[in-house]
């Protein structure tokens, strides 16, 4: 009895504040992009331009971007690289368009998130030697073998709304400027040439993916919602103490409030990865991926999808490497591919 009491006391006296203190100093959110980004959105507002000139500008844009011949997998000079289990493939930018309920073959209901793979195109490939010299590269590959970086853009938009510097990022490649950009760390054998399209076919049915997104922004929240505190009693004479935090320190231990003390503040809008989500259905016609589980962020937010890093759910067989290309003989791929565990809606009812 006495032995247990002593251990409890010891645990309370030597509460590890170190980890909380270091994490409390990390800046989790900014409202501005990093300093090396070029200015993106057009700053001019209401330029007085005549309708004829406006028409001319649009014609110029059309002529600049229109007359390109369609590309197939064979026209791009991708050497036939070999997949090995240590390959890191590119990821994909998608929009989380909501949640749909589906049923498994034994009648169990599953919640599936619907991810719409936008019109992704590779903008640039940065080889490992060059990337290791950049600001992020030096930090990332300090004691590691450097890897390459693929810059992928999604959601083409009118060049009018962007600055010239931003459009120049895409000019060398001849792409319409994209609203969203993302970097994917890839091994050199998974490199892709610029203008390669990435579609839902990049992924395989049944594989596990990691989805990165920014969580729902709840704004300034109190301690009960933000940290799950219990607050105070609703009645029994409690005076103005229903959703407050209560005590914030002992008075004895260091005699101050420790950094990292849980208090009200901004909640949400943070980078998070949901790992190991299984792909249960792919719709090739609309570029849709159904993923079992939920992803960070609200509906209609942009997420990034990668092959999973979880060791037991990684690929054992080669996926479409380096990415999926539609078959050259023009045969259309199967429009709607379902995982074997799911009940297909057009098939007869389940009888147990």
């Amino acid at each position: 009895m006495v032995f247990h009491k002593r251990r409890w006391l010891v645990r309370r006296l030597f509460f590890n504040h170190e980890q909380i203190r270091t994490m409390s100093r990390v800046k989790r959110r900014t409202t501005h992009p990093p300093y090396w980004h070029v200015l993106k959105n057009n700053q001019r507002d209401d330029e007085k331009i005549s309708s004829d000139n406006l028409c001319f500008v649009r014609e110029v844009i059309q002529d600049k971007y229109k007359n390109k011949s369609p590309i197939k997998g064979s026209d791009l000079d991708i050497e036939k690289t070999v997949w090995d289990p240590k390959t890191k493939r590119s990821g994909v930018i998608a929009r989380n368009i909501g949640v749909q309920h589906m049923w498994e073959k034994d009648g169990k209901k599953v919640i599936c998130t619907v991810l719409h793979v936008l019109d992704n195109h590779v903008v640039r490939y940065v080889p490992p030697e060059e990337y290791a010299k950049s600001v992020i590269g030096t930090k990332m590959f300090k004691n590691r073998k450097p890897l390459g970086c693929l810059v992928v853009g999604a959601e083409a938009a009118n060049p009018d709304r962007f600055t010239r510097q931003y459009c120049s990022l895409f000019d060398e490649v001849g792409l319409l400027p994209k609203k969203r950009l993302a970097r994917f760390i890839v091994t050199p054998n998974a490199a892709l040439p610029p203008c390669t399209p990435l579609t839902a076919g990049h992924f395989v049915i049944g594989q596990a993916v990691d989805v990165y997104g920014k969580t729902i922004d709840y704004g300034f929240q109190g301690v009960v919602k933000r940290w799950g505190f219990k607050g105070g009693p609703a009645s029994h004479g409690a005076t103005k103490f229903h959703r407050r935090g209560g005590t914030i320190g002992t008075g004895r231990d260091k005699a101050r409030v420790w950094p990292g003390q849980k208090m009200p503040g901004h909640m949400g809008s943070e980078r998070r990865f949901n790992r190991g989500l299984k792909i249960v259905r792919i719709n090739m016609k609309y570029n849709i991926i159904y993923v079992k589980g939920t992803v960070p962020g609200p509906t209609n937010s942009i997420v990034q999808i990668f092959d999973t890093i979880l060791p037991r759910r990684r690929f054992t067989e080669a996926p479409p490497h380096p990415t999926y290309f539609p078959p050259e003989d023009g045969t259309l791929p199967q429009e709607d591919i379902w995982d074997s565990s799911l009940h297909v809606f057009g098939s007869p009812s389940i009888s147990v």
Partner: protein, 305 residues
């Protein structure tokens, strides 16, 4: 100018996002006066399709206005934070797929229905339940309804998900409506209002065009009740015979201005134009399924002979 604007290239997928948005405005500034139909944005952004130059000859399909009452689950949840046209369209396609396998008949709150579900724990692997529909809700594949019955003097309510593949059969034994949209007060009513024989036969309707409204006024048990029924404006309940203080408090707590709040009703419903679009999309398939079922029913007794 219009024809060049309509040409699509695979290379950048710029066709869908760029030309769809700006082809219309381009032609507005040019001299041509051709009528241009803006294409239906629902779900067709990423699909490179071959558009013909002649878009103004589309025949417009309009579903009958009763569809919003017959098939309310095709309308999406009005909350703007979670709406997305593409996902709703895909969900509707899945719903139609399921409806091609099983007949989900038209029903309303107050109809008496029988549902057969696959059940592993049942002796013959199927469980059939008969009851009155007291509430229905949900949208899309999440649509549900609650059936209530009194079995061996015990009130039983079961919530069924309309598109669950375990459901084998949904029959409507008596199709009618009541004076209220929600019959939750049957829980506090005398048990005879919720009792229906489990071997009830489907009743034939004399007049197929109109769904009859049953003007039944239900008698409630003496208090205590599960909810404050006097505050809820119920039409299908007999006079509650409560002391005046209940009605006074109900008046104090009531929100009579809500019926004038246009924005509240706007936020709770899908606009009429969108409803028309949705049902027009779904109308032809539902009609085809109806026809196939009718043919099968006619052929059924003929085949037996």
């Amino acid at each position: 100018m219009l024809r060049r604007a309509v040409l699509q290239t695979f290379r950048q997928g710029l066709a869908q996002s760029f030309f769809k948005r700006y082809a219309v405005s381009l032609t507005e500034t040019t001299v041509t006066h051709q009528p241009i139909e803006t294409s239906n944005e629902a779900g067709e952004r990423s699909v490179p399709t071959q558009k013909t130059g002649d878009e103004s000859r589309n025949t417009v399909v309009v579903a009958p206005p009763e569809f919003r009452f017959m098939y309310p689950e095709f309308l999406p949840d009005p909350a703007m934070e979670t709406r997305n046209r593409l996902r709703e369209k895909l969900e509707r396609m899945d719903m139609l797929q399921r409806r091609s396998v099983i007949e989900i008949p038209e029903f309303y709150t107050g109809s008496i229905m029988a549902v057969t579900v696959a059940d592993a724990n049942s002796p013959n692997k199927f469980a059939r339940f008969v009851g009155i529909c007291i509430q229905r809700g949900g949208s899309g594949l999440r649509a549900w309804f609650i059936l209530r019955n009194v079995v061996d003097k015990q009130g039983v309510e079961i919530l069924y998900e309309m598109y669950c593949p375990l459901i084998q059969k949904i029959e409507v034994l008596r199709l009618e409506r009541r004076l209220d949209e929600s019959l939750l007060y049957l829980r506090d009513a005398l048990p005879e209002y919720s009792t229906f024989p489990l071997d009830m036969e489907p009743e034939r309707r004399l007049n197929n065009s109109v769904v009859p409204i049953n003007p039944l006024k239900v008698k409630l048990r003496p208090r205590p009740w599960l909810e404050r029924w006097e505050r809820q404006n119920l039409q299908g309940v007999e006079d509650l015979n409560l002391p005046q203080r209940f009605y006074d408090k109900a008046e104090k707590v009531a929100k009579p201005w809500e019926k004038y709040d246009l924005m509240l009703h706007y936020r709770k419903t899908i606009p009429a134009e969108e409803q028309e679009k949705i049902f027009a999309e779904v109308h032809s398939q539902l009609q085809q399924q109806e026809l196939k079922r009718k043919l099968r029913r006619r052929r059924g007794p003929d085949n037996e002979q």
